[in-house]
Amino acid sequence: MSSVILRNVNKSYGNLPIVKNLNLDVKDGEFVVLVGPSGCGKSTTLRMVAGLEDITQGDIQIGNKTINDLPPHKRNIAMVFQNYALYPHMSVRENIVFGLKKSGADADTIKNKLADVSEMLKLNEYLDRKPADLSGGQRQRVAMGRALARDADVYLFDEPLSNLDAKLRHHMRTEIARIQHQYNMTAIYVTHDQIEAMTLGDRVVVMRDGIVEQVGTPMDIYLQPTNTFVATFIGSPAMNLIEAKIEGEELVFDNYRLPATKIANVDMHSLRAHDSVLVGIRPDFFEDSTLSSPSDNLFEFNNIEVNLVENLGFDKEILFKLGGEDAKARLDLRSHVKRQEHISLSVDLNRVLLFDTSTQGMLLNAGEV
């Protein structure tokens, strides 16, 4: 295992910059997830680490050695591809041991690794089949197995689960998390699915248009997104953003006046410099007022008309208008709100975030976080 360091890495196709000045430290044994909308340069970044794309500018180090000029096969990296890229003319067994054999492992090692991997991924019965005779989920497991059988310094995953159905994807996600902890491998995992990012990553890197927007633990990113892009990209349903006027120490929209002083970490001085601000409230942080225990920091949005209720089992999502925009709240099963009812929703002001209307950056009290 080794650390991976990207220093001011740039990638352009022709004159078109795709990855812009990317810096990232992946520690030994760390699982880092690159997440972002498709086309933002995640795969390109991963492929530069793999050596499948050359680096336009900057350096990539693996285990403190710069590997810019090293061809891919000398980097000792294992990779799982989105389309699996299994060798169609080889059996599952041959696919799994191909890299091991290539690295010159002895017969015993190969045998043991094969047994390990096929046990772990439940591939025992399929070892003699060709990839064409496997289901999508089985192929995915072979692709995982082929990478895991290797004793690589770094493991790369490019959207390995995106071709699976929801149930299988969930299952494999858990498997990957388990295996990663078991082997303590250094891994970079690319996905556009924020749930995968949140559940798998020791740290998450949110990218947009070739730029890293934020790097942090899943909870950091969830609770302290640096801007509206990260705030809305991470978390489902997406964070509600409502534009509010600033009147004295109050944030005003519709008939609601939120006391800004009670919002966590707000620097009133800088707030006063603005006319308006974006108020961010995650749907999860709304509560049905009839069920919430009274507290000093609670703000109540009363007289809210429920436009739609979606029952999800334990949770239900309700749709309503806030500040003229569609807003969502996620309530738990104790709430019995119905469509077209008028209800009150409360929010813990400590959970409310404020963003600059023009820069879209989070407004923070200097010194906090």
Binding site: G51, P71, H73, A85, P88, F98, G99, R146, R150
Partner: protein, 320 residues
């Protein structure tokens, strides 16, 4: 196509299909039929021989009992002269045998097979390297080369026969049998390489690039990925291309006639058949049997490779 056909339409359709198929295969049937007919039967317009006559085949395949060579007495005296070297005697004898009934068909077939086989192997090999580079690697002048190949295969052999012949004379290749055969082999390479490259290039492009990338991640260099992943996966197309090259060389007449004319021992089948036809003992059954035997390997090849061949050729704009 979408609607059910009326019975009349069906009759018309099947009639047209049958007419077209007969038009295409009739000359083949004619060859087969005549090759099996006794000379007295040639004038018979029916394709079915009155009596099955296999002598022509037996003769060509060397299954006939050898006839005594008739040598005139004057020549016989020459042959008996002990001063004459064995080689000279052979040559004298050969005059009578080659002009006579013996037609070393097996030898010609072997010649043709050897040169076609080697052409097929070499051309497929060289084309696969070049096609891989053009399809998959980035290097200077890549598109120039890809388009150049297209241009080259439209320049027909006739345009090159004089300069190629002169070149081989100038470098001395034309003066020995070995050199001549080597020249011919090179010429067959250039006649097959462009289409072979084109067909293989198109095929390589259908193989997902990520397979090679996976191989590289698994520790293969580019060249190893080519050998261990691309080549095994391309087996059907490699086979097809080999067959294509083999058949082109097998069928070739022009350059064989230009280069091999004076080396009768190394004649290929097309050249030998033409010589047989223009020689004084042109006999229909023998010519047809020889044609049939020349044709047969091609038809077998065609049946083996048809599936990919038709597609591969139409993709390439096509030689011929």
């Amino acid at each position: 196509m979408m609607n059910k056909r009326t019975p009349l339409q069906s009759v018309i359709l099947y009639t047209l299909v049958l007419a077209l198929v007969i038009f295409c295969v009739f000359p083949f049937l004619q060859i087969l039929s005549t090759s099996l007919k006794h000379p007295i039967d040639w004038g018979n317009p029916s394709l079915i021989p009155r009596i099955l006559h296999l002598d022509a085949y037996k003769e060509l395949l060397g299954l006939m009992p050898a006839k005594e060579i008739d040598v005139p007495a004057s020549i016989q005296r020459l042959l008996d002269n002990p001063a004459l070297s064995a080689e000279k005697k052979q040559m004298l004898l050969a005059k009578f045998s080659s002009g006579g009934d013996v037609f070393p068909f097996g030898r010609y077939m072997l010649n043709t097979f050897v040169i076609s086989f080697i052409t097929g192997i070499c051309s497929t090999f060289l084309a696969s390297l070049a096609a891989y580079a053009i399809a998959r690697l980035r290097f200077p002048a890549q598109s120039l080369m890809a388009n150049g190949v297209l241009f080259v295969y439209m320049v027909g052999g006739v345009l090159l026969m004089v300069p190629l012949y002169q070149m081989s004379v100038n470098v001395g290749l034309a003066s020995s049998a070995g050199g001549t055969i080597f020249s011919l082999f090179l010429i067959y390479l250039i006649q097959t390489l462009p289409v072979a490259m084109y067909m293989l290039g198109n095929y390589f492009r259908t193989i997902p690039f990520s397979l090679e990338e996976a191989a590289m991640m698994d520790g293969c260099s580019r060249v190893e990925a080519f050998w261990r992943i691309i080549m095994p996966l391309s087996k059907p197309m490699l086979f097809t291309v080999f067959i294509y090259c083999f058949v082109i060389a097998w069928n070739e007449y022009l350059f064989a006639s230009v280069f091999l004319k004076q080396y009768q021992d190394f004649h290929t089948l097309p050249l030998a058949l033409q010589t047989l036809f223009t020689s004084k003992n042109a006999i229909w059954d023998r010519i047809m049997a020889a044609s049939m035997l020349t044709l047969l390997p091609v038809i077998i090849c065609f049946m083996l490779a048809n599936r990919h061949l038709s597609g591969g050729l139409t993709d390439g704009g096509v030689k011929g």
